[in-house]
Symmetry: C2
Subunit: 155 residues, 2 copies
């Protein structure tokens, strides 16, 4: 479990069109998994209040939506580097990531890109402040979350 | 431990000049602490490789530095909402946050602003790609981390 990853996670990332990522040589699989969980925690933290607003559970606040959507977009772009090879459930105990992420990289890549694309649109639409448009784009983004979780995340 | 925070963390944030943050009514103290840990995890994830580069431990990559510095800046701006009242060690078991964060809010606020300011400068300097300037500004930013951790984080 103390196996270290080789220098430069970039080489082990699933070809997701990222900038090169240089991590120190001693990055452990557990650290990557922890980073992964942090990224998705922050996505959820920011995505949920948008959902609460478009559902009318809390008052709509255009500035808050724009800010939250920006973080969702930015974290969607940070997400791919959190899926370095050798950080799946066969190596890391505490992870909800399924091995299929690494055995079906093209499918995972496609789902990740869908999410990034819709999250980027959500951030754009959110800047405009149009509540109806935001609601529609929130729904589209949420679909990409579900589609990926269904296939690649443990229940 | 299942006590819920009131709607709108904004009211319980330490007056850190944030935009209003609307969270769903059922945000638990543990969720805030978890978000807090995620924010700092992502800060560390991005800050460390800049350090490794300015120290010459890994090859300097201007694009990677700029990207990492941008995430440090953005997460520094996300950090204040992670310190809602009622999420300290008297309520949340698993936290390194000291109670002093909430008993000395002006001091904490000041340290947080120092960090945000230097992180913002780091992101600016990083865009320029000047390795000497980046190294200097990395050092200044690291000082603000240490200063805050010394006073407000458990060892």
């Amino acid at each position: 479990m103390k196996k270290t990853l080789s220098v430069g996670l970039a080489g082990s990332i699933l070809g997701l069109g990222l900038l090169a990522v240089v991590q120190a040589a001693e990055t452990k699989p557990e650290d990557v998994a922890s980073y992964r969980q942090s990224v998705y925690n922050i996505i959820g933290w920011n995505f949920k209040p948008i959902g609460a607003m478009v559902k009318g559970e809390v008052p709509f606040d255009a500035a808050a939506v724009a800010r939250h959507a920006q973080y969702v977009e930015l974290m969607s772009k940070a997400a791919p580097e959190a899926f370095a090879k050798g950080t799946g459930p066969s190596v890391v105990k505490k992870t909800e990531a399924k091995e299929e992420i690494w055995t079906k990289p093209a499918e995972f890549d496609s789902k990740m890109k869908d999410f990034q694309q819709e999250a980027t649109k959500l951030a754009e639409v959110a800047k405009g402040g149009d509540q109806t448009a935001i609601k529609a784009q929130f729904g589209k983004t949420a679909e990409t979350c579900k589609a990926c979780h269904k296939e690649f995340r443990k229940d």
